[in-house]
Amino acid sequence: METVIHSLPVLLLGAVKTLQITTISVFIGCILGLAAGLARLSQRRILRFLATCYVDFIRGTPLLVQVVIVYFGIPQVLREIQSYLVNAYGITPFFKNIPVFLAAVIACSLNSGAYVAEIFRAGIQSIDKGQMEAARSLGMTHGQAMRYVILPQAFKRVIPPLGNEFIALLKDTSVLSVIGFEELFRRGQLIVGATYQAFQIYLTVAFIYLVMVIAFSRLVDYLERRLKTGD
């Protein structure tokens, strides 16, 4: 018990990092996801194809693998390019590694973007076809109809699933421990390594995740109720 109390501040700081990385990633993921979701519904074949590749690749591979590709794989390629440039043009080497925080943001944002893309796509497709037709019949372009008629309605419907995506990613950020990003779970691991109190510490870690998830799902429920009445 004493160990738990002593390690609580460290774990809570980890929880803050977990929340940070999740918030940043879902935010960037929303921007990526809106772009990819619209691209998947585009008239242009090439856009549709690229967006489908992105979404399928991310959703078809584990986040853990994506994280190690970004942190270990990509820098290796960059270093090889660099050493070629050093030999060929005599530039001084400057790149060694991606900072772990940046790697975490890139991997989680790309991951989140693919799931958010599907959320947006479904949200847009759930809007009655008559809305687009009415807008077009008034002389609006496809873009105007999207912007003023379809998207404002889709955004409302998308908020609850976006909340769920946030919760899912919040838990999944624990895989960032493999690249040494000191979020909640990684800090738990480190404390266990020093104290051998696996049961108490991991249970505490689980409990902190649980509290965060419950708080957020309540918030999502609340938003959902409010949006229903405002419809």
Partner: protein
Amino acid sequence: MIEVKNLCKRFGRLEVLRGINCYVAPREVVVIIGPSGSGKSTFLRCLNFLERPTSGEVIIDGVSLTDPKTDLNKVRQEVGMVFQRFNLFPHKTALENIILAPMKVRGLSRKQAEEIAYSLLAKVGLSDKAHAYPDQLSGGQQQRVAIARALAMRPKVMLFDEPTSALDPEMVGEVLAVMKDLAKEGMTMVVVTHEMGFAREVGDRVLFMDEGRILEEGPPGEVFGNPQNERLRAFLSRVLKV
């Protein structure tokens, strides 16, 4: 005003329109009747290219819609459309529904657009509902707002796709009254409807469609009083009996 030449539309293997030719003069009210599945709505939706015809030509006010150089958005600004299921924008009030396109498409200021909107709301008898959302309005009220929304673009032609079919019976009258006024003011109108009374009273010309063709056309008196086509007679006896 509208000229249609040999219009065909096919959905996969289903031929919905099989060569339609017709002409709508300025200020004319043309009513299209026919059994369901006869292609009336598809025909109407081809007139503003919401549905792209498989072949044939549509010319509106001298502009061919089939011409790849034609800006369809420009043409649609001149062609208002009213839908069976209203299709009002649910996230906007009646007023906002009406001013959206004039502001974003025509580039009017909010003040100018609202002026038009208020006068149109008065015209359809809904001045007091300007700030109501669609789900706070009855079906008949929603359809009248939808008519005002289309009129706010100052179109040269109005298309009505079964505008009263989704309404409770007691609300049909209020919508038809608005349409009647519009016809009296000289608006060019093409109306798909099952309201035979309206067709007879307001229509300058009635087209009877079945299986993707226009089988008979003429002034309402003739079409209803002295139908030549066998299928038109059968159709009329079915709809007028009830």
